[in-house]
């Protein structure tokens, strides 16, 4: 009798733990790029020129990875900036404040691909690492 009770309790705890694990797996948080290990740290000019050298290899190396880029801000629009006219960097909400054109900046974000129409590389979920 006692053993049966124990077994039920153990089983219940096990099921609860399993449920909690599944729940947290299904509802896991989005990536936080700013906290991730940086895969490459370079200048925006160099980043773009290594893209033009070998697009395929470049994409297989850096697509979806956390990138740190240094460059001159050539334009600002909404929540995006352009570095050296070659890389569009879109910031996380409210992270763009205080950035001025023609100044040097270092940002960290995720490389998402090349935009053929604008002929620019794109970085999203960026944060300003100058601060």
């Amino acid at each position: 009798m006692k053993n049966k009770k124990k077994l039920i309790i153990v089983l219940l705890v096990f099921l609860l733990a399993l449920g909690a694990t599944i729940f947290s797996y299904i509802n896991k948080d989005h990536r936080n790029i700013s906290d991730e290990k940086t895969d490459i740290s370079t200048t925006s000019k160099e980043f773009f020129s290594s893209f033009t050298t070998n697009q395929q290899e470049f994409n297989s190396l850096y697509l979806d990875k956390a990138i740190v880029l240094k460059g001159i801000v050539t334009s600002i629009e909404d929540n995006s900036i352009v570095l050296d006219e070659k890389v569009i960097v879109t910031f996380k909400e409210n992270a763009i404040s205080g950035i001025k054109t023609n100044t040097e900046i270092t940002v960290k974000g995720r490389y998402v691909g090349y935009d053929d129409l604008l002929e620019q590389l794109k970085i999203d979920q960026a944060t300003n690492t100058n601060k």
């Binding site: 299904i26 995006s80 995720r110 998402v112 691909g113 053929d116 129409l117 604008l118």
Partner: protein, 182 residues
């Protein structure tokens, strides 16, 4: 001599009118939804879609980077990228087409319906699509709204049996573009 200069002026004139005929959007919004009732909504939004319109002939091109589609659920976003759309090998979705009967001079602040027709390519496959859009012009901006449906099979995206009844057969895509004259 006079004729020559006339032709030259004409050529210059055409050149100028062409260079003025470009409208660009860099922050277009695309939303797709494939939700089934009673199951968790399957919906993603891309707010960095590029669109270029040639207003002299209505030719339009649009590009969305697949990884910029954001889901509310992180796991769903991961599965979408890794198992379904395979964004590492197919990072972009491109539409190239034409707004039929497009005439900039006819546009006003009142919405006007046009038909848009062209090819959508993603996941390494191309499909021709045609759907109605609403266009209006306010100051120097063109706003384009519309929606269309596609199916995963159109682009060779296979849905595993286990989740088949949780994902709608038809994927509804809506677009909202605001193009500025360049």
């Amino acid at each position: 001599m006079k004729l020559k200069s006339f032709i030259l002026i004409c050529i210059f004139g055409i050149g100028i009118s062409f260079s003025q005929g470009k409208y660009i959007e860099k922050k277009g919004v695309l939303v797709f939804e494939a939700s089934e009732e009673a199951f968790e909504p399957i919906k993603a939004k891309n707010e960095s879609v590029t669109v270029i319109l040639n207003s002299s002939n209505g030719e339009i091109a649009s590009l969305a980077l697949v990884k910029e589609f954001r889901f509310k659920n992180a796991l769903m976003e991961e599965h979408f990228n890794e198992n379904y759309i395979e964004s590492d090998t197919h990072p972009k979705a491109i539409f190239k087409g034409k707004i039929i009967g497009f005439d900039l001079a006819q546009l006003s602040e009142k919405e006007k319906e046009f038909k848009i027709s062209g090819n959508l390519s993603l996941h390494g496959k191309e499909k021709s699509i045609e759907f109605p859009i609403l266009v209006k012009k306010v100051d120097n901006q063109l706003s384009i709204n519309g929606n269309f449906t596609v199916t995963p099979q159109d682009f060779d995206i296979s849905i595993p049996k286990i989740v088949r009844n949780k994902i709608a057969k038809q994927v509804n895509v809506s677009l909202k573009f605001n193009l500025k004259s360049k």
